[in-house]
């Protein structure tokens, strides 16, 4: 049975006005990646959202950017931010207690329901892990609903791997969860690295994770070349296009499918996406 | 609509001209420093910004300053021949001559954009230049250009910014001061 992804599931009022939120915790994940936990000024969770949904997180004086909610609890939402541009650079200067702007949630979410009972294969590269992690954490929370879980994760250097604690200490000890990590290149700073060296797609192929007669769902998030090569590897391994899920990214401003720039054909990534199956993407006119 | 010649006849009470002075680090900025050391008095309407050389003076800074609330702009550099980088102020001289004419062509009064060469020893000239610029602009009144952001009234210039006023000036190139 094909995976069903809901699209255009937007709801909400006053979509363009943010709320002021407070940073309660900052974790330095790598030298240029930080995670921020946010609550409202009166200490509540800013919004309820499903795993994989987006939030427009920013600073009032600098602008706002779209991020996937990388983790959440009943009290807070968390965003994981890599320093690449003007706003993210300023976000990295935040300290605990600072006020930020937040609006959302936007977009659709991982098809947690229709993946139930399946084996999960998560594939991510670099800063592509946080979006995937939102689904992974959901699966671990509802462990009995899902089969075997594999995580294939790569980064170009050891320092670029995010969530190292979970990656190396927590997740490998979860029942029937297998974590596979590779580095793109030898890392001279970390000669002790005993894991694999190689790009994600060839590494994935060595792991021999097959489609299990359509019972395994692959979830990809990474840069353009990682996405392309991993898709090809999975298709070669016999995966059905409908069982390969990915979350897309483009520049976004409004978050509600009106400002125009994040379209893939007639679809807007911020509203109909960001999560699509490969089968759906194949029918779209995509510049991504 | 009658053409308002300038704002000189309608200067609001309490109005103080705001002038920004872009000063070359190697001469005028030092000259300004010397003026301070010699306890020369000059009006506080001028805010001094340090640039590495008058050749670095980007015409955009002038437009931005006028758009953002200044009533006049002063650019000061080393005397021709004395540039720390040998030729920077020669380029600046050409560029500023053209740019000043362009601004005046667009209707800016000549007194609002002035360029002067002031060396590090000419503390008195710095003071006189600043005093003259302030008097020129004061006589002209508030600027007669449509300003930025019609949407929200700009707060006053840093006069009310206690932080900026109480800030201790950062030490500039301490090793050179010692040398």
């Amino acid at each position: 049975m094909a995976i069903e992804i809901s699209h255009g599931c937007a709801k909400g009022e006053r979509p363009l006005i943010p709320q002021v939120c407070r940073v309660t915790e900052i974790t330095q994940e790598t030298p240029d990646v930080k995670s921020f936990r946010l609550v409202t000024l009166d200490g509540k969770k800013p919004f309820d959202c499903e795993p994989g949904q987006l939030g427009m997180f920013g600073l009032l004086s600098y602008g706002e950017c779209m991020f996937v909610v990388s983790a959440q609890s009943d009290e807070w939402v968390q965003f994981t931010v890599k320093k690449v541009g003007l706003v993210t650079e300023q976000l990295h200067n935040l300290s605990v207690g600072d006020e930020v702007s937040l609006r959302g949630p936007y977009g659709n979410w991982w098809p947690t329901e229709s993946c139930r009972g399946k084996d999960m294969l998560f594939i991510a590269g670099g800063i592509g892990l946080p979006p995937v992690r939102s689904f992974l954490l959901y699966c671990l929370e509802h462990r009995e609903d899902y089969g075997r879980i594999d995580l294939v994760y790569s980064g170009s250097k050891y320092d670029d791997l995010v969530f190292k604690e979970q990656l190396f200490d927590i997740w490998p000890n979860e029942p029937d969860m297998h974590v596979h990590v590779s580095l793109y290149h030898e890392d001279p700073k970390h000669p002790e690295w005993k894991g694999d060296i190689g790009y994600t797609a060839p590494y994935l192929e060595t792991l021999d994770l097959g489609p299990e007669d359509g019972n395994r769902v692959a979830v990809i998030c990474g840069g353009p070349s990682l996405s392309r090569t991993c898709r090809e590897s999975l298709l070669k391994a016999g995966f059905d296009e409908g069982n390969i899920l990915t979350t897309l990214e483009m520049r976004m401003k409004c978050g509600v499918g009106k400002c125009g720039r994040c379209n893939m054909g007639g679809h807007f990534i911020c509203l109909d996406g960001p999560i699509f199956s490969l089968a759906e993407i194949a029918t779209m006119h995509s510049d991504v | 609509m009658p053409v308002v010649e300038n704002n000189a006849n309608a200067i609001p009470e309490d109005w103080e001209p705001k002038i920004i002075a872009f000063c070359c680090h190697w001469c005028t900025y030092t000259g300004a420093d010397l003026a301070g050391l010699n306890r020369m008095n000059y009006p506080a309407n001028v805010r001094v910004l340090r640039i590495p050389c008058s050749g670095r003076m980007n015409p955009q800074y002038v437009i931005e300053a006028l758009n953002k609330g200044c009533d006049g702009v002063l650019v000061c550099g080393c005397h021709p021949g004395d540039c720390h980088y040998v030729t920077g102020n020669y380029y600046a001289r050409r560029r500023m001559m053209i740019f000043k004419r362009l601004l005046e062509y667009e209707g800016l009064e000549p007194g609002r954009f002035q360029v002067k060469w002031i060396s590090g020893a000419e503390a008195g000239k710095f003071r006189d230049t600043v005093m003259k610029a302030v008097e020129d602009v004061r006589a002209l009144g508030p600027i007669n250009l449509t300003r930025e952001i019609p949407y929200f009234e700009l707060p006053a210039m840093p006069d009310d910014d206690e932080e900026a006023f109480n800030a201790v000036p950062e030490e500039v190139f301490p090793e050179e001061v010692n040398a």
């Binding site: 602008g63 009106k258 400002c259 379209n263 | -």
Partner: protein, 336 residues
């Protein structure tokens, strides 16, 4: 009901005493809709304004909220609602169709854009049918009737000495009943308007599905300058950017028209740009006009007003593109 042409100005003046009435006029050499005031001469014979009336609903720069910091260093957000009662008088049927498109964009698909919605609710549209067409007008080919706008609140049709007045919505009926002293009973046949430029949209939407990688885009885009003229004069182009101006910790966040023709439009912080060249940008623009919007909202995003045809610096002409698509031999569609 008829409105004699002599009564037109008295009606407008009486309307303008209460609310802002926007009429087609020429200001400083620019043809646009401007607020009726002293010195503004309405020109209802003008075929089409250069600047579309979309800025009444969706201004080129629109402030959304401003923020400031209180004594404790806490941010506060203050929202703006600048919408007011407005009447647009003399809007052409093609521009009325563009408002249908904008309504779809801003008011449907789960989120309602409150800024647009507020302005839209307070706008009374009085459309005047065309009596003559410019050489660049091709509205009939895009399914617009030049003498009739079905979604206008009030429709005026030229019958020679008078306009035939039809109220088409409750809002329009309320308006017309208030104009009674300027109206007279009667009926007359509206003057027809002959639109000479015709293109065939038949099959174009479906054909475009298979033409994403066609060389037609390369040939078309090569002459494009990548300026934003076509998008800014287009009555249906609605892309916007959100930006802010700051003064220390205070600032205002606003949205402003943006153009898919600019390289910066899709450039991402990491340096990747999904539409790096004018080929991709041109293709996206025309696909959006003729195919994507049709697929998403069930209507074409081109209303045939001819403004981009008229104003393009390099005479890049959407009507020629439509003709070219019509005569293009599509390879057999892939199995989807």
């Amino acid at each position: 009901m008829l409105l004699s042409k002599q009564n037109l100005m008295p009606l407008l003046n009486s309307l303008a005493s209460d609310v802002d009435v926007f009429v087609p006029t020429t200001i400083d050499g620019v043809k646009k809709f401007a607020r009726l005031a002293d010195g503004v001469e309405p020109d209802f014979d003008m075929i089409n304004t250069t600047m579309p009336p979309k800025d009444l609903l969706f201004p080129q720069t629109q402030k959304m909220y401003h923020f400031d910091v209180d004594k404790n260093g806490s941010y506060h957000i203050h929202e703006y609602d600048e919408s007011r009662e407005q009447i647009v008088f003399g809007i052409r049927p093609c521009d009325m169709r563009s408002i249908v498109c904008l309504d779809e964009v801003f008011l449907t698909k789960g989120f309602v854009d409150e800024f647009y919605a507020n302005a839209r609710e307070k706008l009374l549209t009085v459309s005047i049918g065309c009596t003559q067409a410019a050489e660049t007008c091709f509205c009939t080919s895009m399914g617009v009737d030049p003498i009739y706008a079905p979604n206008a609140d009030v429709m005026l049709q030229d019958t020679g000495d008078a306009y035939k007045v039809t109220a088409q919505t409750p809002k329009g009926e309320a308006a017309v009943s208030a104009w009674s002293e300027f109206l007279s009973d009667g009926d007359a046949e509206p003057v027809n308007c002959d639109v000479t430029l015709k293109v065939s949209m038949e099959g174009v939407v479906d054909k475009l599905e298979g033409m994403y990688d066609s060389p037609i885009w390369e040939n078309l885009s090569i002459k494009c300058l990548n300026c934003g003229t076509c998008t800014y004069v287009c009555p249906t182009c609605h892309c916007f950017d959100i930006s802010q101006e700051n003064r220390k910790k205070d600032g205002v966040r606003f949205r402003c028209w943006d153009s898919c023709m600019f390289s910066e439009y899709t450039a991402m912080a990491g340096g990747h740009n999904p539409r790096p060249e004018k080929l991709e940008r041109e293709r996206n623009r025309f696909m959006h006009k003729l195919n994507f919007f049709e697929r998403r909202y069930g209507m074409s995003l081109c209303v045939g007003c001819g403004r981009c045809v008229e104003k393009c610096p390099v005479a890049l002409d959407i009507t020629r593109l439509i003709d070219d698509i019509g005569s293009y031999e599509v390879a057999p569609a892939s199995a989807e």
